[in-house]
């Protein structure tokens, strides 16, 4: 909360502003002060809070599972190992049910996606003002702690999946096979190649965008509702806050699951023979 007693609008826009670092035409390399400056920085800027929190949660995930990998035994599991193995088996189940090909990469990919997105989404359970207030005390003006409510993060993951789709399609079917698949589906006739091409390319490009926007939309909407709720008087907040947070147990897990499953399904299509 910058300044004294901000209006509701200021409060909301402040909460929705990332901590952006970039090259400003007037100020040079600096943190953006407000949405206007961030926009002026254009593409060559980076949302430090999004990157920081996503990397932190990613490292938390890797640390946890590295711990599992180090301590795992083929005997009787116990404690944390049990819980982590459950998650592991869960993502392994996604592969078993949704993936038909053979790949050393898709399993780890599904596990990483599910856990990482789950951890990133989970940051939403922290009280909405807690971390920004601490950051404010430390002199940091903006702090959005949920990386998945930043479209950069979700679309970034979506496009990473997109690149993998392209890579595996070409690797498994050859460039000509991939091109043929784009040209002769759904209508197997040479005269309809342009039509097919347009259709298939749209389908192809929609995959990563829908992945990213679905996750972003859910998380962003949830965040906005949390901000709205925190505009209520403090003694009334819990009436809406608690149910909404409980509801997010479902949303957070479900969105992580959907992202992981759809990625696996998209990649599975690259391994199928036609």
């Amino acid at each position: 909360m910058a300044g004294n007693a901000p209006t509701s609008t200021e409060y909301i826009t402040h909460h929705l502003q990332n901590l952006t670092f970039g090259l400003h035409p007037d100020n040079g390399w600096s943190f953006a002060h407000g949405a206007e400056e961030a926009r002026e920085m254009g593409f060559w800027a980076i949302n430090v809070d999004t990157m920081g929190w996503s990397i932190a949660t990613g490292l938390l995930f890797l640390w946890l599972f590295r711990y599992l990998a180090r301590t795992v035994t083929n005997g009787v599991p116990s404690g944390l190992q049990n819980a982590l193995e459950m998650v592991f088996e869960f993502s392994n189940g996604i592969i078993r049910t949704s993936f038909s090909g053979h790949s050393k990469m898709v399993g780890p990919l599904a596990l990483t996606l599910f856990c990482w997105i789950f951890f990133m989404n989970s940051l939403k359970w922290l009280p909405i003002d807690l971390v920004p207030q601490i950051a404010h005390k430390l002199g940091i003006e903006y702090m959005r702690i949920v990386p998945t409510s930043d479209p950069n993060a979700t679309l970034g993951m979506g496009f990473a999946i997109f690149l993998l789709i392209i890579y595996y399609s070409i690797r498994n079917k050859g460039f000509s096979g991939f091109a043929k698949e784009l040209s002769f589906r759904p209508f197997n006739h040479w005269a309809l190649i342009p039509f097919n091409l347009v259709l298939e390319l749209v389908v192809l490009i929609v995959k990563p965008i829908s992945l990213g926007l679905r996750l972003f939309g859910n998380m962003f909407a949830g965040e906005v509702i949390f901000i709205m709720i925190s505009l209520l008087p403090f003694w009334a907040m819990w009436v809406l806050d608690v149910p909404w947070a409980i509801f997010h147990i479902l949303v957070i897990t479900l969105q992580a699951f959907i992202f992981a499953v759809l990625s696996v399904v998209y990649l599975s299509a690259c391994f199928e023979e036609h």
């Binding site: 593409f43 599972f65 990998a69 795992v72 050393k104 596990l111």
Partner: protein, 156 residues
């Protein structure tokens, strides 16, 4: 909320995380889980085998028990018949012995009777002759009459 470099940063971070997971996390865990699966499978098979063996051993034990029971019954039966036989034999022996002893005694008695008869005959003859002598007062030719008296004594 504009699109910027964060997009690419996120892609790179994602790639690194997946790579690390693929390299250092996934293989040891899958290996351990597969090993565990194998161990559980082995254990179950072992249990099945052990159960079958136990069943077999039980049957064998029952078989042995039945056989030994039959054997015991047979031995007992044999012993009993042997004992009966021995008793029978002993009884027969005893009976034979008894009969033999009775026969002996009887023959002894007979011979003694014969002897006594002989002696009696001799004495009767003597007594008769003496009596007759006394009656006839030596009027009788002893040689002639002895023959007669002896014949008489034999008729006794």
């Amino acid at each position: 909320m504009n699109i910027n470099m964060t997009l690419i940063g996120q892609m790179i971070a994602f790639a690194i995380f997946v790579w690390f997971c693929m390299k250092y996390v996934w293989p040891p865990i899958t290996q351990a889980l597969n090993e565990r699966q194998q161990r559980i499978q082995d254990g179950l098979e072992e249990a099945d085998r052990a159960r079958a063996e136990l069943h077999k051993a039980n049957e064998q034990a029952e078989e042995t028990l039945r056989e030994s029971r039959e054997e015991a019954a047979r031995i007992l039966e044999k012993t009993r018949s042997r004992a009966n036989q021995m008793i029978e034999e002993a009884r027969n022996d005893a009976r034979a012995e008894g009969e033999r002893m009775i026969a002996n005694a009887r023959s002894e008695i007979d011979s003694e009777i014969q002897q006594a008869k002989g002696e009696l005959r001799a004495q009767v003859a003597t007594l008769a002759i003496q009596g007759a002598e006394r009656i006839l007062e030596s009027s009788i030719d002893e040689k002639k009459h002895r023959e007669m008296v002896d014949r008489l004594a034999e008729e006794l």
